[in-house]
């Protein structure tokens, strides 16, 4: 069949939209790049964790005397040595009340097997291990549950002594003139459904009892009534651990009252307040925390601001007065490294005969895991409401606490599960109504300032822009969709199928800072608070500023990854916000530099600032004539001082930015600014995925033979990096279709699939050997550069393009949960109906 084609990304810019060599690449490829575990400090000690063997218990007593008596054993850290959970603070200074039931990294009431009870610090790991084996702990076993539906049954066990669900109280009304109030902290309460609720559900259908959260818009009941076709489907998405290749190993030491933390984190600047909050009274102020993370071995949401386990070596190091390295093993990473929560979903969706959705009634049960309230269940409805534009919708959900490892957002959190719930229904409707799959997606896709989610203060919010229909058209052509539809489907024991899926997620935030200095050597020294987790945004975003000032890339120096290097406040690198937020910050900061340059030029060369323009490393009069080089301007800035060299700073910038700017003041022309530019709507990005699969009917084995993704992410910033994100995250999604999942033993409530060959992240041979991607490259109208984030939306598209292709090949009644593997396909084909257990979790 014709392989998918692709078109080169075109860009009218000098730097933006062009490929280049990122400044960290050579260090990476020569092995010189240092990740957390690559640092060595004299006298460095080691720490290892003692993990709970029980899914839920209370520690009655700990006898560590034998261990402490061993030569080489320095200290033992337990939950008693940890600070209590502290309140957080938003950028706007609003207090986020502490969650008293939060993960504290060590505990006396383990909530899942593998939860750390204590850490042993010794001269080496072998001593740590032998010491741990000499520690005797008495546990009082408590009731445990790993399956949300078991916990929801009348009389079912609760995973926590306080209850089994997170209930979020109503958000108070906003006071005019003040920032919108934060949603109050969720509380753990008991929620049980009735026997009738369970009895009402037919085999494979999800029962729907009392929800914990609910919203709706439009008359969804009428919508379902007037529909020509109503589908009522239950689908289950898997728990999948993030499994970054670098585990959350951390090394820490104290110097002059500051703690230096070498750790993996997705965000550099934002990690300081996070660790400061976790350390509580161990430090005087956040300034005492120095985060070093020039390179991070992946995060995918599990290391947005490092991880709470990082405080163990910090506090141990303080206790023993020596550097402490705490390596996290792959098995420990499976326990504490976080995971995407499984979501069980049931949807009633109404369609007109020409394929337009009339209404959606959606209910999700989220496997919350043992700690913080997970929003995935409800977010899935929000993204469904955007991606498929139902005129009316009801969303209900409950997030059930289970004695399983903690969950946290993973690439496209909630959005992914929403796409996974809805796509099978859309493709089934397409088959039933005999409408082309691409068409039915287009018919229901958002365009322009489309509405998203439930009404806020009576009005539904809307997005900045969507060009997903253009993406679908581009993909249809490049993937030769129409030709493929005509191709032979069945031959011998093999059958082929093609599938398309669309996906969406938040694509950017606003309100962060930029900071750089143009020094008398004529070079541009950019300070970047963005994390370096491999997306390249830590460098990419700064190309905007360089381009605006006409500075060639080889004259740009970037400081990153070490908060001792005077970095500005930046957004957390999570939820695909960085590209959008930080290109804006770069833009506003470059604008600040241009204004200062114009003013300096006007001062020295006469005329008004507006008479001057900045380009090609110079500031000069419009239409040529007098001007000066950036180097000269930098010298003048130092002479002028004040706002020009950073001795005087603008109001409103974050105090971390202000501190950094102050430290850099006097070195040249200092540009610093906060993004206060308006934005009409919420920024979201979109991806359309196209896949072809080939199934072997005799073995149930199937192969993804081709994949193509087209992204609507506004202006393309860096094609290589974008391609990596689009296809990389598509494959992350494919993992959820091909085999990634958790398995727990239901009786003992302990995990079984702890090894890679058990939880199955995709290998290079599980995906097409030559995939294609493209981007519509239409600027977002609500941001100066027009660039949006891309990290999330490919995930759902990658997963569901494959599963839709699978049902195109095999028909509707083969699977009802992801992932789909040979066993499911073979068993279901043999039986003629889905053979999977509909709802049992963790199988």
């Amino acid at each position: 069949m014709p392989a998918a084609k692709t078109t080169p990304i075109e860009s009218t810019h000098k730097l933006v939209g062009k490929n280049y060599q990122t400044p960290d690449l050579v260090a990476k490829v020569t092995g010189k790049a240092k990740y957390a575990e690559d640092y060595r400090v004299d006298g460095m000690l080691f720490a290892r964790l003692l993990l709970s063997p029980m899914p839920h218990a209370r520690v009655v007593s700990i006898d560590a005397s034998e261990a402490l008596a061993m030569p080489g054993v320095k200290a033992i850290l337990t939950a008693d040595d940890l600070p209590a959970p502290a309140d957080g603070m938003t950028d706007l200074g609003q207090v986020i009340p502490a969650n008293k039931l939060a993960d504290r990294s060590l505990t006396m009431e383990p909530m899942y097997q593998g939860e750390p009870i204590l850490a042993v610090c010794a001269v080496d790991e072998l001593t740590c291990a032998e010491a741990i084996e000499k520690i005797h702990i008495t546990y009082e076993r408590l009731p445990h549950v790993v399956d949300p539906f078991v916990s929801l049954r009348p009389g079912g066990p609760n995973a926590r002594v306080q209850g089994n669900v997170w209930i979020r109280p109503e958000t108070p009304k906003a006071v005019p003139g003040q920032p919108p109030p934060l949603p109050p902290a969720a509380q753990v309460q008991e929620l049980k459904w009735t026997e009738e609720d369970f009895a009402a559900a037919k085999d494979g259908q999800m029962p729907m009892g009392k929800p914990a959260e609910e919203w709706s818009f439009g008359d969804w009941e009428a919508g379902l009534k007037k529909a020509d076709l109503v589908l009522d489907e239950t689908f289950v998405s898997p728990n999948t651990s993030h499994q970054p290749l670098e585990t959350r190993t951390t090394m820490a030491y104290w110097q002059n009252g500051k703690v230096y933390v070498h750790t993996g984190t997705q965000s550099t600047a934002q990690t300081v307040p996070a660790i400061a909050r976790w350390l509580g009274p161990n430090i005087k102020s956040p300034d005492d925390v120095v985060v070093i993370s020039e390179y991070t071995g992946g995060g995918f949401g599990s290391k947005i601001t490092s991880s709470i386990s990082a405080i163990i070596p910090c506090i141990l190091s303080k206790k023993v007065g020596a550097p402490v390295m705490m390596r996290i093993s792959r098995e420990e990473e499976h326990f504490i490294g976080r995971a995407r929560p499984s979501v069980h979903g049931r949807m009633k969706v109404g369609f007109t005969k020409d394929g337009r959705i009339t209404a959606i009634d959606m209910y999700t049960v989220c496997d919350n895991g043992s700690y913080d309230a997970q929003g995935d269940g409800m977010t899935s409805g929000r993204i469904v409401s955007l991606m498929y534009q139902p005129p009316a919708m009801r969303m209900r959900g409950v997030s059930v606490i289970t004695n399983t490892s903690p969950r946290v957002s993973q690439s496209q959190p909630g959005g992914f599960q929403g796409i996974v719930m809805m796509e099978p229904i859309l493709s089934k409707a397409a088959r039933k109504l005999n409408i082309d799959a691409v068409e039915i997606h287009k018919i229901n896709s958002p365009t322009g300032k489309a509405e998203v989610g439930p009404p806020v203060r009576g009005k539904r919010p809307y997005i900045t822009s969507s060009f997903i229909r253009e993406a679908l058209d581009r993909g249809r052509e490049l993937f030769s969709w129409d030709e493929r539809k005509k191709q032979v489907k069945r031959s011998g024991t093999k059958v082929r199928g093609i599938g398309v899926a669309t996906s969406a997620f938040v694509g950017g935030s606003i309100g962060f800072d930029g900071l750089f200095v143009i020094k008398p050597d004529g070079r541009m020294y950019v300070q970047s608070g963005i994390g370096n987790l491999g997306t390249e945004s830590v460098h990419d975003c700064n190309r905007v500023a360089a381009e605006m000032l006409g500075v060639p890339w080889d004259k740009v120096e970037i400081a990153w990854g070490h908060t001792g290097r005077n970095l500005p406040w930046a957004c957390p690198s999570g939820g695909s916000q960085t590209t959008h937020a930080m290109t804006r910050a770069a833009y506003i900061t470059a604008t600040d530099a241009i204004q200062k340059l114009q003013q300096i030029a006007a001062k020295d060369l006469g005329g008004k600032p507006d008479d001057y323009v900045v380009a090609n490393e110079r500031v000069f009069r419009k239409g040529g004539g007098a001007g000066m080089s950036l180097a000269q301007a930098a010298k003048r800035a130092i002479e002028l001082g004040g706002i020009y060299d950073g001795h005087e700073l603008p109001k409103g910038i974050n105090k971390m930015t202000a501190a950094s700017a102050t430290a850099l003041a006097g070195q040249g022309l200092l540009a610093v600014a906060r993004d206060t530019m308006p934005r009409d709507g919420l920024t979201h990005s979109f991806v359309a995925g196209f896949a072809e699969v080939e199934v072997d009917l005799e073995t149930g084995k199937y192969a993804v033979t081709d994949y193509m993704a087209v992204a609507d992410v506004g202006t393309v910033l860096h094609p290589h990096a974008l391609g990596g994100q689009v296809l990389g995250r598509s494959v992350l999604g494919m993992g959820h279709a091909l085999g990634q999942k958790w398995v727990y033993d239901q009786h003992y409530g302990v995990p079984l699939a702890k090894r890679f060959h058990h939880n199955r992240p995709p290998t290079i041979l599980d995906v097409p050997v030559d995939m294609k991607w493209d981007a519509v490259n239409i600027p977002d109208p609500e941001t100066p550069i027009g660039a949006r984030g891309i990290g999330e939306p490919p995930v759902g598209a990658g997963c569901m393009a494959i599963l839709n292709a699978l049902s195109d090949a095999l028909g509707d009644d083969v699977f009802r949960r992801a992932p789909v593997m040979a066993d499911t396909i073979l068993a279901s084909l043999e039986a003629g109906h889905p053979m999977e257990e509909g709802l049992t979790a963790h199988i």
Binding site: P53, M54, Y139, R141, D745, H747, Y748, V750
Partner: protein
């Protein structure tokens, strides 16, 4: 080297799983030692048991030449049980002694046969046999004391002759009953842990600790039976007891033996017409 083997369960708890298997050798050697000591004792130490004089010949003549000791049903039961018992011991311990074979199925089948035969025996003994004849009573204990004192040279009243079952015999039966019940009751539950046609396998029927105790009881009773069976076979083969052994095959003793060794009051036999 302890008596029981423990394991750490998936929750990190230490639970017993079964007895240490060297105990089977302990039982075997113990049994062997007993019968050697007994043989030597009988051969060289023990004085010929002297009994009260026999009853008058006239009375004797009233007894039939053949005295019925074991009914056919009782004998069948005995042999069925003994076959099952040997099958169980062989399937249980031969693999442990280094002669591996697929033993599990034979073991539980034999176990079922034993259980069935025991249940039958209980009913049969209760309703159709002289139930109390096998249980030790006050007199037995009293006379056992006398016998012991006399054997050790002290003087004590002369004990009467035995009834149908001598005291030792009764005691042996008692021990067999206890170990037999222990091994079969636990065994029946343990069938839930292996594949049988009867029910789906479910090792979670009880908690790990309860199961452990059950396995240990089963094991202790099992090795106990090694010794008990050895002793039983030994006595069956002793020349002076051979007549009794034969009666477990043929069913009866000749009158003379009966009159010689048994107290006609304590073991009443219907006189001949």
């Amino acid at each position: 080297m302890g008596l029981i083997e423990t394991a750490v369960n998936p929750w990190g708890q230490t639970v017993p799983i079964h007895i240490e298997f060297y105990l089977m050798w302990v039982a075997a050697i113990g049994g062997l030692a007993f019968l050697m000591v007994h043989a030597i004792y009988v051969q060289f130490v023990a004085a010929k048991a002297s009994h009260a004089a026999r009853i008058s010949p006239a009375l004797e003549a009233q007894y039939p030449p053949k005295i019925k000791r074991h009914s056919l049903v009782a004998r069948l039961f005995h042999w069925v049980m003994s076959v099952a018992m040997f099958a169980l011991l062989i399937t249980a311990f031969l693999p442990r002694m280094g002669y591996p074979f697929a033993w599990v199925e034979y073991h539980w089948i034999a176990g079922l046969v034993l259980t069935a035969s025991i249940i039958f025996h209980i009913f049969h003994a209760t309703f159709w046999m002289d139930f109390w004849s096998i249980w030790p009573d006050k007199e037995d204990i009293q006379e056992a004391k006398w016998r012991f004192l006399r054997a050790t040279g002290k003087d004590a009243p002369e004990p009467r002759k035995f009834g149908k079952y001598p005291f030792e015999n009764k005691m042996y039966h008692l021990v067999i009953v206890l170990s037999g019940l222990a091994v079969t009751l636990t065994g029946v539950f343990m069938m839930k842990r292996v594949r049988t046609p009867f029910f789906t396998r479910n090792p979670y029927l009880f908690g790990d600790m309860t199961w452990g105790m059950m396995y240990i009881l089963h094991g202790l009773a099992g090795v106990g039976l090694i010794g008990l069976v050895m002793v039983h076979v030994y006595f069956a083969l002793r020349p002076e007891k051979f007549v009794i052994t034969k009666s477990m095959i043929g069913g009866d003793l000749d009158r003379d033996f009966y009159l010689e060794h048994y107290d006609q009051e304590r073991w009443k036999v219907p006189a001949a017409k």
